[in-house]
C-alpha cells in the first residue's frame, strides 16, 4: 500500500496513493500506517540538495539536532554542495556524519 507521509509541524499528513482501501488491502494499509508509530526516528536523512551554503552556525545547528535525537537515530547528510562539502571537510565533521550522494541513494543504502 503506497502512502505518502508528510510532516507539517506536529501534524502528519498520510496520503493514500491507491484508489481502494478494501479487504484485499486492509492489512497492508494498517501496517504502513503503524510503521510511523513504532519506529519513527530510526534514520533521518537531511537532504541538502537545495543548500548552496552552510556556515559554522549552520553546522553547529546540524550537530545539535543530531545530539538531541540521541544514539538510536542516525542523522545522515545527502547531496552536499561544494561549499557544504568544504566546511564539513575542513572541520573534520565529514568523519562524523554518514554522507550520501543523494537522498535516493541514502534511502537505497
Amino acid at each position: 500500500m503506497a502512502i505518502t507521509k508528510t510532516i507539517h509541524g506536529t501534524t502528519l499528513v498520510a496520503r493514500v496513493e491507491e484508489s481502494r482501501i478494501d479487504a484485499a488491502g486492509a492489512v497492508a494499509f494498517k501496517d504502513e500506517m503503524m510503521a510511523f508509530k513504532t519506529a519513527p526516528q530510526h534514520r533521518i536523512i537531511l537532504d541538502l540538495e537545495n543548500v548552496e551554503f552552510l556556515d559554522s552556525s549552520g553546522l553547529g545547528a546540524v550537530v545539535s539536532v543530531m545530539k538531541a535525537y540521541g544514539e538510536e537515530t542516525s542523522l545522515e547528510l545527502a547531496a552536499l554542495s561544494p561549499v557544504v562539502e568544504k566546511v564539513l571537510r575542513l572541520t573534520r565533521m565529514d568523519k562524523v556524519f554518514k554522507i550520501h550522494n543523494s537522498a535516493d541513494t541514502a534511502l537505497a543504502a
Partner: protein, 165 residues
Amino acid sequence: MARAFSANPQSAHPMPTAGAELSRTIGSHLGEVRDLVAKVRLFLDQHTGNPDLCQRTEIVLAELLNNIVEHAYREEGAGRITLRIVLCETGVRILTEDTGDPVPGGVLPEGLLPATDGSLSSLPEGGFGWFLLRNLAHDLSYERDADTNRIRLTLPYSGDSKPNT
C-alpha cells in the same frame, strides 16, 4: 538528484579581473550579513573564473561578519559594519571595520579545531568559526584605532587551505 562534486582546484583558472573592488556598509544584523555575503558571492562569480576561490571567500566572509555581529556588537543590533573587497593578482583582499567591543586582549582568537572524535554528546556545536577563518585566510591582521576595529586578510588565489593539522 546527486550533485557532481566540485572539480579539484589545483587546475589552472583564468586570472581574476585585477583591480575590481566592492565596498558596502551594513547594519549589525545576521540577515544583513546573509544578504551581503550572497551579493559578494555574485560579484566574485562575475570577476573570477575560480569557483574554489569564490567558495573559500564566501565561507570566510560569513564567519568574519557573523562574528562581528555576535561578539563585537554582542548581537544587540546597533552598529555598522563596513566591508571592502579588492581583487588583485595574489587573490581576494578583505577589510572590515566596526565600532564594537575590541577583540579581547587585542589578539584574534587562536581558532583551534574542536575535537570531533569523542562520543555523540561531546561533539562541538560551535567554535568552528575562527578555525575556518585561520585555516582559509592568509595575512590576517587586527588593529584597534580609536573606537574602530579593523580586520584585514587575504584569500590566496589558489590553494584550498593550509594543511589540516
